[in-house]
Structure formats: C-alpha cells, structure tokens
C-alpha cells in the first residue's frame, strides 16, 4: 500500500496539525473581537435575506424555513470555505515547504479541522434560532457529530484533490470559485427538493454534496437520523472523495516544493 508510510508520518505530525489549527483560529479570533461575532452573525444575516426573499417574493411551502435555510448555510459555508482555504494553504506556507521536510497534507488537514471548529461555533446561533422559532429539540441532534465527521471527510478529500492543482496552476482557485457558486444552486440549500421540476431532479439528486448536506440537515430540521440507505450513500461519497484526494495528493506531493 503506497500511502502507508505517509499515514504513519502524518500520525507522527499530529501535534503539528493541532498547532496549525490553533494558529488558524488565533488569526481568525484573537486579533479581532468581531471575528467570533462574525462567524455567528454572517450565517444569520444570509439567512435573514433568504427568509425575506423566499417567504415574501417566491413562496415555498417549507415549515419553519429559517431553520431549514440556516442549517444549509452552515453546511455550505463549511464546505466551500474549507475547500478554498485548503487550496490557499500550500502557497501560504511556501516558506516552510522550501525549508523543512514534512508530509504536506498537514496544511489541508489543519485547514479542514479548523473549519470544523468554526462550524461547531456557528451551531450556537443555530441553537438560538431553534429556540426562538420553537422548533422541537429532537434527540436526533446527538447524531450531529457523526454527520459533521462525514462532511469533514468528504471536504478533506476534495481539498486534498484540489490543493496541489492550485499550486501548479494559478487560475484553478478562481475556476473552483465559479464552480462552487454553480454547485451551490444545484444543492437544495435555500430551496426544498419538491420545487425542482421532475426532468431536472436527477441533477440535484445525484449531486454528492446534496447527499452529505442532508445527512447534516436531517437531524436538525426533520428531527430524524437519516435513513440507512442515505447514510450509506453519504459515507460512500465521503470515502471515495477521501481515497481519491489522498491518492492524488500523494502522487503530486513531491512536485509541490518545485512550484510554490
């Protein structure tokens, strides 16, 4: 197995990964009090806009739309921000990559882990909205750590797949940005599946991001643990993404210091 020495080397560097996470969070929160407030406020603001637009301009039949929408926004922010940040992380640490040998995966991994911490912090405003709208607090909420783990593995896979490309080609970050905004509309974040016309539904249905999103949103919004079939599909997507990403990253890893 070619990735085995890489894995032991990563385990050896686990303290480094954690230190990088702390460094990330410190940059985000220590230097500005607004940092923490912003992590919580930004999804709420997006949600407010969506609530106004979709409950007055276009009307969907989604009970307690704020919760539906906010859960989707939190997931999407985690996913898209972690991918873009992973892609930037190698270039941002170019000075280190030129001077010291280490498994280069530590940078995208630390990026995704700090994304998870941000996601967990952003669950606080979600809790407030649940209480404020009188949404029942189901025991299924206890399933969230598993859902977040699946989302994190999937996101890490995509980050590992894309981050070497971002080192080799300067325009990849921009292209991924455009793709992500298209993907956002193909994912039922702001709208319910029910409004998608039948002939387009397969596009949304086979979107892996939707599958991961629903595993995250089901326990919050529907108060249920996702059905086993959905869960299996989401775990499958996450593992395939992770395997593909880890393989692609390893293959390109030696070339990275020549390009950053």
């Amino acid at each position: 197995m070619p990735s085995f020495p890489a894995l032991t080397s990563l385990i050896r560097h686990r303290d480094l990964i954690w230190a990088l996470v702390v460094r990330d969070l410190r940059v985000r929160y220590k230097r500005s009090t607004l940092g923490l407030v912003w992590t919580m406020l930004q999804p709420l603001l997006t949600m407010s806009v969506m609530v106004v637009v979709f409950s007055t301009v276009f009307r969907f039949d989604v009970p307690n739309y704020p919760v539906y929408c906010l859960a989707g926004i939190l997931f999407w922010n985690f996913f898209s921000q972690s991918i873009v940040a992973s892609m930037v992380s190698l270039r941002a640490n170019a000075g280190i990559l030129h001077k010291v040998p280490l498994p280069k995966e530590v940078f995208p991994i630390a990026t995704v882990v700090s994304g998870v911490v941000n996601l967990v912090l952003a669950l606080v405003p979600l809790g407030l909205i649940l209480l404020a709208t009188g949404h029942p607090l189901h025991p299924s909420l206890l399933f969230l750590p598993v859902a977040i783990l699946i989302a994190a593995l999937f996101t890490l896979g995509m980050g590992l797949l894309l981050s070497p490309l971002a080192v080799f080609f300067t325009d990849v970050i921009e292209m991924v940005g455009v793709t992500l905004s298209l993907l956002m509309y193909l994912t039922p974040i702001f709208y319910p599946m029910a409004i998608v016309p039948d002939r387009f539904r397969f596009v949304v249905r086979f979107n892996p991001v939707r599958s991961i999103l629903e595993v995250f949103r089901d326990p919050i919004y529907f108060g249920k643990i996702p059905p086993l079939t959905h869960l299996a599909v989401a775990v499958g997507f996450a593992l395939v993404a992770l395997a593909l990403g880890a393989w692609a990253f390893r293959r390109n890893s030696d070339k990275i210091p020549y390009y950053v």
Binding site: G95, V100, T170
Partner: protein
C-alpha cells in the same frame, strides 16, 4: 546503500523548469497540450551527483553562487526529491537551511519554540522534555515571554539555533547560518557543534567562509554548474577552488 554509509547519493540529477516556459494557468496548459506544443526549458541545478558519507564525516560544500549547493542540501534533507537518481539518509536529519522556520511573529518566544520544533517533526512531549534547556541555551531570559516581532535578528537566530540543536541528530545540515549572533553566542554554537562531533554526528556544511571549512571539515566537495568538480580532503580541494577564481594567466 552500503553498510557504513549514513548519507549516500546515487547519480542525483535535478532540474527546475524555467519561468519563461512555465505554464501558469490551467487554460493555457490545456491549449498548449492540445496543440502538442508543450516544451520546457530546463535548468539542471544538479547533474549526476554521487557520493557517500560515513558516520562522523564532516563535509564542506563549496562552489560559486548558483552552483547547486543549497539545492544539494535540500535533496539530502528531503525537501526536494531529485528528478533522477536517489538520495538515502540513515537516521534523524536536522536540516538547518534557515533558522526559525515557521516562526509566527505574533506569538511569544516560548510559543514559537513549540511551533518550530513541531515543524521539525518533534512531538509536543519531546519539546516539553527539552523546553527548559532550549530557553537556557538561547540566553534570552525574560524576553522568551515577549512576542518575537520585538526580537532583533540576532535574538531570532539564537532562539532558532537553540531549538534545532536541542536534539543530537545523526546528520546535521548547515547552510551558512552561523554568521549571525554576537561573539558569545557564536562560541556557544561552536561548542555545541563540537559536542555533536563527539557524539558521531555527520555534518554537512555549506559556506563561503573557507577557513571555517578548513577548520571543521575532513572532506570537501566542490560543486560547479551542478556537477562535482572535486571531492577530497579540504587541504587538496580548497586551493584548487581558490585557484579557479584567480584571473586567467595571472
């Protein structure tokens, strides 16, 4: 790898693609690829370099700027993988290509001890065990609790050197970094290197200070345009190297 070798290079070659030909965007790359016009101009930084070092050898590397000295150190330390050939190293390598790798200027000296040592591949526990010794050796006293953005370059170098040499390595790689710090610290550094020498550490040193190579090394490698021009005792190689810089016919 032969039995007594600690560092061994087999026919190592390495090239950088020149910026002129480098394809910076995926769109251009795709276009060039479709047209079949993907040609790179290559700069060979190292060409067919082979040598081996036994435990306790002290190698000095000399050569003009751009001869490939730093690239050679990067290959041995494992930062760059050669395009052809291979480099094998037995044991723990301490690469000092730069002091204070990964220092975060907003963090204090003691926080940076951890960050830097973790980048060098140590665990938090290992750093805990050596922390006191690192602080003492650095001689920074109470400054250790100040953010490193307030440090002078000499203080940064002291801290960096104290961290990377807190563990006795099997192979120590030094890239002209000892030229900083005051006389007291330079003396401490030399004492520490002497300790390593007694412990059997293999040393690889790149320097333009030829008398330091004369004094510290038992072997000298002269690189020119990425190739080995000479490899032997400093007393033989250094005069030839110095001679090469003399004006022709003088």
């Amino acid at each position: 790898m032969s039995a007594d070798a600690v560092v061994q290079l087999f026919d190592v070659s390495l090239c950088y693609r020149l910026a002129k030909q480098r394809i910076p965007s995926l769109k251009e790359y795709a276009l060039h690829w479709v047209r079949g016009a993907l040609v790179y101009e290559q700069l060979w930084a190292l060409k067919n370099v082979s040598f081996s070092l036994a435990a306790g050898d002290r190698l000095g590397v000399v050569g003009s700027n751009g001869a490939g000295k730093s690239t050679l150190l990067k290959v041995i330390s494992g930062v760059l993988k050669p395009v052809q050939g291979r480099a094998e190293v037995r044991g723990r390598v301490a690469p000092i290509l730069e002091l204070g790798i990964g220092f975060d200027y907003e963090l204090t000296g003691d926080e940076n001890i951890y960050l830097n040592a973790l980048f060098l591949g140590h665990s938090r526990k290992e750093v805990d065990a050596r922390y006191q010794e690192i602080v003492e050796f650095s001689g920074l006293g109470d400054f250790i609790r100040a953010p490193v953005r307030n440090y002078s370059s000499g203080m940064l170098a002291r801290l960096g050197f104290s961290i990377v040499t807190a563990w006795v390595p099997d192979v120590l790689i030094l890239d002209e970094v000892l030229a900083v710090g005051d006389v007291h610290f330079v003396k401490k550094c030399e004492e520490r290197l002497a300790e390593f020498r007694r412990a059997g550490t293999t040393l690889i040193l790149v320097s333009h200070a030829l008398e330091s190579i004369q004094r510290n090394c038992n072997r000298c490698l002269w690189l020119e345009a990425g190739q080995v021009r000479a490899d032997g005792p400093p007393a033989e190689v250094l005069p030839r190297y110095i001679g090469s810089a003399a004006p022709v016919g003088a």
